[in-house]
């Protein structure tokens, strides 16, 4: 059950796809759809010769990604208009942030709900301004909103009454129940303004955020796309002066060293991200994760819901102390 390797290979080395036969193409397209990477793949393969049965599908995927990107930016603009009078920083997260800033992961990327980060103290104002502008609770009455507010890192999801689009308003990037406590204030104060006044996380924080998603639900779902984001961001920012030492500092500040370290190693293994010389030698645990992340057959099926392997990975991850290896890598990175 590891057909997703066909997708990883095509993303990493587009020319390799020219060797595929009909069955290979079928599996590649199916897996790419299932992993929400079809638009990304379509852009990666834009310049190689494609079989006539394949190119329309990839052209559709590019068109589709364009629509998705435009809609995401429009939702961001609607939120901007609703929140501008408050004068609080509004930070776009994930896919919408990549699209708004024109960052490499946004090319062909699928984007779901609009995720924004605002200072915790502004959350009530933000909530009422959004409601005044037509957003409403997805679940109105019976729902236990105290639970959400107390334990989650976001407001309960809101949906716009006319546009049917959801917004998630976060005040930090991990649930309050998580062991790590990212420094939300630092995320906000280091954020970067875009020309229209909306903001994005600083590059290093963006990578920390992408990494913390890998284990956020403990199920590694969407791992290939998540790591593709990490790969593209590291390639895009990796040559900026001081980037690697800033990344190390920010990962430490947000108590996410272990996640960031793991994300970098996995992304280097899967996508060849140039982080250190040579491909990393994976630990047994890391190999298990890689296997899990790529578990998808040629019909797009993931292995059956969370089996013991999943539980094992999760509990192992929760117990595992930062390893010597991690410290070693960080030390080297800081010196880069």
């Amino acid at each position: 059950m590891t057909s997703a390797t066909i997708l990883v290979r095509a993303l990493r080395d587009p020319a390799s796809a020219t060797a595929l036969d009909a069955a290979g193409w079928t599996a590649l397209l199916t897996v790419a759809r299932a992993e929400s990477l079809i638009g990304t793949l379509a852009h990666r393969l834009a310049d190689i010769p494609l079989p006539p049965a394949v190119s329309p599908t990839l052209a559709d995927a590019r068109a589709s990604a364009e629509t998705v990107g435009r809609q995401a930016l429009w939702e961001a603009e609607m939120a901007r208009r609703a929140l501008a009078p408050l004068g609080v920083p509004v930070i776009l997260l994930k896919g919408t942030a990549f699209a708004a800033a024109g960052l490499d992961p946004s090319i062909g990327r699928s984007i779901g709900d609009l995720d924004i980060l605002v200072p915790r103290e502004a959350i009530d104002q933000v909530e009422s301004a959004l409601k005044a502008a037509g957003w409403e609770w997805v679940k109105d009455d019976a729902y236990d909103d105290a639970y959400y507010r107390r334990w989650m890192h976001e407001l309960p999801p809101l949906i716009h009454k006319d546009r049917d689009r959801m917004i998630d308003v976060h005040h930090t990037i991990l649930p309050m129940t998580a062991r790590q406590t990212p420094d939300a204030g630092a995320l906000v104060s280091a954020s970067i303004a875009l020309p229209d006044g909306l903001r994005i996380l600083a590059p290093a924080d963006m990578i920390v955020h992408a990494a913390c998603h890998l284990f956020a639900d403990g199920d590694l779902a969407g791992g290939l796309r998540n790591l593709w984001d990490v790969d593209r961001l590291l390639r895009q920012f990796g040559n900026d002066p001081g980037f690697w030492s800033t990344l190390a500092e920010r990962a430490a500040l947000h108590e996410m060293e272990r996640s960031v370290h793991l994300a970098m190693r996995l992304s280097a293994h899967l996508y060849g991200t140039p982080i250190l010389q040579g491909a990393p030698r994976l630990t047994l645990f890391e190999r298990l994760i890689v296997r899990r992340i790529q578990a998808r057959d040629g019909w797009g099926r993931a292995p059956h819901p969370f089996t013991r392997l999943g539980f094992y990975i999760r509990s192992h991850w929760l117990r595992m102390p930062p390893t010597m290896l991690a410290r070693h890598l960080w030390t080297k990175l800081r010196k880069r």
Binding site: L29, T30, A53, V54, A61, W299, H304
Partner: protein, 287 residues
């Protein structure tokens, strides 16, 4: 891997249907015998047991695939063919980007087509099947595909799903030998699948120019009413599953269609009067 596989192309769209059971794919192969068999599909449909152990005990068929509907209820294995058809419809409805998709039926004559759309049960399927027995070429009974660049219709001649007594109407027309499967007690009542005639299948890659839009409604006394272009536009957006997703090319295609074509709503009490009405409006109006 799915144990049983059927591959088929309908007009410009190729499907791969995988099934945990033999029944649904066998039925598909019989219903669609002679349709082109593609090498690489546009869409994959999977018919799977809802739970693994339920492949054998009271099997319930979950409809999954490239695009799936999270809360979809499974069907019984006796309705496996319906599940396969719904799975293909779902891919079209949720995944198609290459054409503007209208939930409508269409028939063609002399290279020009009439598009018929309306609520489920308005009779658009039966009317298209009926017209195709009376000198028209059948283009499709469920989805009409409008080319985003040329505005031409691409035929999508799937098997016609006839509800309840519509099968008897088609039998009376002499199409009995193409009524291949009947499923009782489906969520939509009794469904009988009619295989399109040979010409519809042989000419599935031959486009047609849209010439008339009709909103048929079965049940009332015969009547014809003018439908204004803005209203036609809004109604067709509501009959399209991908209009909003297509963005500007969808707007261009649909606004051109609406601007250029005459449209009428027609009521009819029975098949004969419907056919007569279509012929009359065709002669008077078709562009």
């Amino acid at each position: 891997m799915s144990r049983h596989v059927a591959m088929l192309r309908v007009g410009p769209i190729a499907f791969r249907v995988g099934s945990a059971w033999k029944g649904p794919t066998d039925a598909l192969r019989r219903l669609y015998a002679g349709y082109p068999v593609p090498a690489v599909p546009d869409f994959t449909v999977r018919l799977e047991p809802q739970k693994r152990w339920r492949r054998w005990i009271a099997p319930s068929v979950a409809i999954r695939g490239d695009y799936q509907f999270v809360g979809a209820a499974p069907l019984s294995l006796a309705h496996g063919l319906l599940a396969a058809e719904m799975g293909m419809n779902l891919q079209m409805a949720l995944g198609l980007r290459r054409y503007l998709l209208l939930h409508a039926s269409a028939v063609e004559r002399d290279g020009r087509a009439v598009i018929m759309t309306g609520h489920s049960g308005a009779g658009k399927s039966t009317l298209a099947a009926l017209l195709s027995e009376r000198g028209w070429r059948f283009l499709g009974d469920e989805f009409v595909l409008v080319d985003l660049v040329t505005g031409q219709l691409r035929p999508f001649p799937r098997a016609v799903s006839l509800k309840n007594e519509a099968a008897a109407v088609m039998r009376a027309e002499g199409a009995g030998d193409r009524l291949l499967f009947s499923l009782d007690d489906t969520p939509k009542g009794r469904i009988t699948y009619l295989r399109p005639d040979d010409a519809a299948i042989a000419r599935m890659d031959e486009t047609a120019r849209p010439a008339l839009i009709l909103f048929p409604r079965f049940g009332d006394a015969q009547a014809v009413r003018l439908v204004g272009p803005a209203e036609v536009f809004v109604r067709l957006t509501q009959a399209s599953t991908n209009y909003v997703t297509l963005g500007e090319p969808g707007f261009d295609a649909l606004s051109a269609l609406v601007r250029d074509l005459p449209a009428r709503a027609i009521d009819y009490p029975d098949g004969d009067s419907a056919v007569a009405l279509v012929e009359r409006l065709w002669a008077e109006l078709a562009r």
